[in-house]
Symmetry: C2
Subunit: 611 residues, 2 copies
């Protein structure tokens, strides 16, 4: 569901923008560069109520050119509500019945917070060219003062998309103990070279506009409108995707354009022209320069030496959301960041929402984004203990009944099967569940054996289920997802019915004994007596309890027997430490009793390690 389709039947939330003049020390607000601003005003809005213990505050960090008006309505005359109203409000993903939500205009902006167009207290004139260069860190420091001066010590969450995602990341590096949950959407630890390219051109076009006057255009009553409009047009293209542009504009065009100016009348030209002009109306060129400059130079690796160092001290839980067709911030950048946080054994979930809308999907893919954010926010607090390999602390054994388990998890959904597995996993261990489905296995092991862990799955519905269950999860193809994890990152890697599904079983087998000390693999034995007899007698591909699909639409694209599996392990240097065979029928059980596991095992669970 996209923005235009979203229901907004709920009553309007009336809000207003306030301005706080920050209380500052005598030298003013010290920037990272060493320069200082004598006074800093911050425009902000709040939604919902702050709990007496002040622990329910969420900060919303805005993208490049929006303002403090993130949600609700200012007046009946408003044509539209705040820019993220689809996500923020009573009973919405960021629920103002529960949370106290703060949104602010960023430092350097032009919508109420101090920026280049503000009056310099020293001169009484707009800063213009004298406004100091600022950084994302400075912007976050201003947000921190705002939050503090609203009386809040620790934020329940910091949430931001695009440049706001950079703010969120900076928060959990700058204030590692004061952000419980960090949600970073469609952003990265730095811009890509391609994105930098577009930014750089946009700024050159502004600076070279004759009306820019070196930045001191305020007194003259002119604005570098052409330059700013063109910069905005360039930027705008990077927010859309080729597909969304094709669908929105195609090659339709209209009459009445000026051929002498080489206009085409194409809808895309009209749209860009309109977006450019509209932007000039509402935004200050100096603010655009300063803010994009800060974004371009934001680079956590450069600032801290490495991403590892940047996030080492952070106590936040992370939710990283990438957008499949985003080419301003690529999903690969999100995965890269996720990889580092996983290495650091942070509690982190990595989601890639499938969307055709490019970068702008963080404003448009409301339904999926809501589910993911809400799942992550509303979950019960995850263990505050960071996952530590095999800590010996047992939670009170409370056998939760698995609910809504998918076929994929079928083998471990009965109480008996769960017990089978519990016996293989040491209490307090840290596990990776590959093809984790709805996360019920990790959830169960957490409640019965104090096991923590992380899941991998590709299906968004499963991802949301996991988040709701408080199971960190990485949305990924199994064949690719394991590269995110370092050697021996886990005590156990569990591959439950997933080996026949993967494209490269050999690779995956090698990977699971790399990322974990032990791997637990379960699979149907294709050479069980039922299949053998079935194939020998009936001459058709078996459809059984263990292999429930027709041959032509089965996800099980690699079939193999217990003996085949043993041979592959042998060749790969993988030790089978323990083998559990499961039989569903009396002939199978008989074969097992006769010591013929490759005939008798309908289903196999193996505990593996690297030789």
């Amino acid at each position: 569901m996209t923005k235009s389709q979203s229901p907004s039947a709920s009553p309007k939330m009336w809000v207003k923008t306030q301005v706080l003049s920050l209380r500052l020390p005598p030298e003013g607000f010290r920037l990272v560069s060493g320069a200082a601003l004598k006074a800093v005003d911050v425009a902000y809005e709040v939604y919902g109520n702050l709990d007496p213990d002040k622990k329910n505050a969420i900060l919303i960090c805005s993208p490049l050119t929006t303002d403090a008006h993130a949600a609700g309505w200012h007046s009946e005359e408003d044509k539209r509500p705040g820019w993220w109203d689809d996500l923020i409000g009573p009973d919405k993903a960021i629920d103002t019945n529960r949370y106290f939500v703060i949104a602010s205009n960023m430092l350097g902006g032009c919508r109420g917070t101090t920026g280049p167009a503000s009056l310099d207290p020293d001169t009484g004139k707009p800063y213009g060219s004298t406004f100091p260069k600022i950084t994302v860190e400075d912007m976050v420091n201003v947000q921190k003062l705002l939050v503090e001066q609203l009386g809040i010590e620790v934020l329940e969450a910091v949430i931001g998309g695009s440049m706001g995602g950079m703010h969120a990341l900076q928060w959990s590096t700058s204030y590692p103990n004061q952000v419980r949950k960090c949600i970073c959407i469609a952003a990265a630890a730095c811009l890509s070279a391609q994105a930098l390219g577009f930014e750089v051109i946009g700024r050159k076009v502004i600076v070279n506009d004759p009306d820019f006057a070196g930045g001191d255009y305020y007194a003259e009553g002119k604005v570098p409108g052409h330059g700013l409009a063109y910069a905005r047009m360039i930027g705008h293209l990077t927010y859309l995707s080729a597909i969304s542009m094709h669908e929105k504009f195609g090659r339709s065009h209209r009459e009445g354009f000026d051929e002498s100016l080489f206009e085409t009348g194409f809808e895309v030209e009209n749209y860009l022209q309109y977006k450019g002009e509209q932007f000039v109306e509402r935004f200050d060129a100096n603010s655009y320069l300063h803010i994009t400059y800060a974004m371009d130079r934001f680079d956590l690796v450069e600032r801290y030496g490495s991403l590892q160092k940047a996030f080492a001290a952070s106590q936040s839980e992370f939710l990283l959301v990438a957008l499949s067709s985003d080419w301003l911030f690529f999903p690969e950048q999100t995965r890269e960041l996720g990889k580092v946080l996983l290495e650091l054994q942070k509690v982190v979930s990595v989601v890639e929402l499938d969307s055709p809308y490019g970068h702008d999907a963080f404003l448009l893919e409301v339904e999926h984004l809501s589910q993911v954010i809400n799942g992550f926010l509303e979950k019960p607090a995850f263990t505050q203990e960071k996952p530590t390999l095999l800590q010996e602390h047992l939670a009170p054994a409370k056998a939760a009944e698995p609910e809504g388990a998918t076929l994929h998890q079928k083998c471990f959904t009965s109480k008996e099967d769960y017990r089978q597995l519990e016996n293989l996993v040491q209490p307090g261990s840290y596990v990776l569940d590959i093809g984790c489905g709805d996360g019920s296995l990790i959830d169960h092991l957490y409640h019965t054996h104090a096991v923590t862990g992380i899941g991998i799955d590709i299906d968004l519905r499963h991802i949301v289920d996991c988040l709701r269950k408080n199971v960190p999860v990485v949305q990924s193809d199994v064949d690719e997802g394991l590269s995110l994890f370092r050697d021996k990152a886990f005590d156990y890697a569990i591959l439950n019915r997933t080996l026949p599904v993967v494209k490269k079983p050999e690779l995956v087998l090698g990977e699971i004994v790399r990322v974990a000390r032990k791997a637990i693999v379960s699979f149907p034995n294709f050479a069980c007596i039922g299949n053998r007899v079935g194939l020998a007698v009936k001459g058709v591909m078996p459809v059984t309890e263990s292999l429930p699909h027709d041959w032509h639409d089965t996800p099980n694209i690699h079939l193999f027997s217990l003996r085949d599996f043993q041979a592959l392990c042998e060749r790969q240097g993988v030790v089978i430490e323990r083998l559990i065979t499961i039989s569903h029928s009396w002939p199978s059980r008989l074969c097992l009793a006769l010591g013929l596991p490759n005939l008798g095992a309908d289903f196999v669970i193996a505990v593996l390690s690297k030789r």
Copy 2:
């Protein structure tokens, strides 16, 4: 191999640019718009020798901003050769030992061919703002006059990349009988909305440069350098890919930049700045405006009503080459064009070269591009008869020995197997060979039974083999490739050993009886006696002549028996018209003799049709 790695040990080819003043009727050169140019000069180069029968001429169409100097060297002082020297020259892909190659600067350009900077014969001053708007069709009409006035009636090939690819397409629509082969690389029948967006901004930036002076800047000795440089920078970004930019620039930066101008010192900024300045040195802003304007408005659908109408009369054979990471001209656009040409039953091959270099790969992916172009050019002329379903004309039966056949084609490589298939296919029919390997099957059937056809394969080596054998081929995944073909486009669709390999056998089965009147499917029978006994006794997945791979790295991801296949056909409404069972052992043969095909058939060939 990319440009930098290409060997250039061969002796330099010395060339020079010539200028031809076109012989024109008294009213001058009439443009599509109705306006006329009194005089037109064309700068061009030629390489190689024109045969006495004048049938060996190839026209090279240049991209946006290059010139007539496509190959060779002008002098010892040259730092580099012509812009496509890697592909054009003695013993190169476009072999000047064999062909007479012509390259020219396009109409509207600024490198010797008449353009806005040329002197208007009426005024003796540069055209400037009075230069009429031109189209791609006008440019091609100028090329046609050049070619004619060089004494050439029919071109052996027209070859172009990027905007030159648009020229090539326009050639075979404007002059349907005078282009034998049309090679269109990294281009399309129109620009995408996204590409238009970048173009539009670039032109606005130029037109709004104060030094543009409405286009009449020549007299003043100024050029709209800033505008032109920024437009070029924007364009340049669209020629690269995110990956290539990441590899080339990353986030490295240097000192000595001007912070007051919001410069960053990033390598990508320095590079763009350099590219922009360099471009201003060598290119005229008015030419850039006129040429990009023509490119933006090029739209064969708008011009002719539909692509079908545009190409209906064309007698050309087509080679369409897309580049995987090109986002100025998307591979999807090439596929769409290919689909139309296939519908029109043109002889067409569609290739997608895998490259990380974005659009610029048409200048950089020299090795693969050479193989593909050379394969297409050097092949013996394909039947001049357009493929017509079941024409009754038998070629003299000449049983060509199949050579170099791949595993994939194994079942049909022995003389006996080929004969097996010949008997199933009517002479003179039109076939689709899905998973065609090196094209030897169609080649064989062409020589023995006057069968024409087209192959589908994913492997570039196979594609090149097919082109060399004169077998038109579409490079595609089987699961996706069939959507290119209309209903009943073929007499036969042949799926040789490919059904177990595809991801969606059910879908593919439905597709092959849609696109062809009959389908011929061959596959190993998983329930053959050898497999049954093997599995029942040994308990391992069979590795046999028919199924030669280990279970974990087999391409055969869907295994099935003859009976399974029959059941699926039954359910899908697919009629098995004929069934040929092949046995490799005496027990198999015995089973067959006993009337037990699902036990006796090691391998099956089935002729199918839609109910």
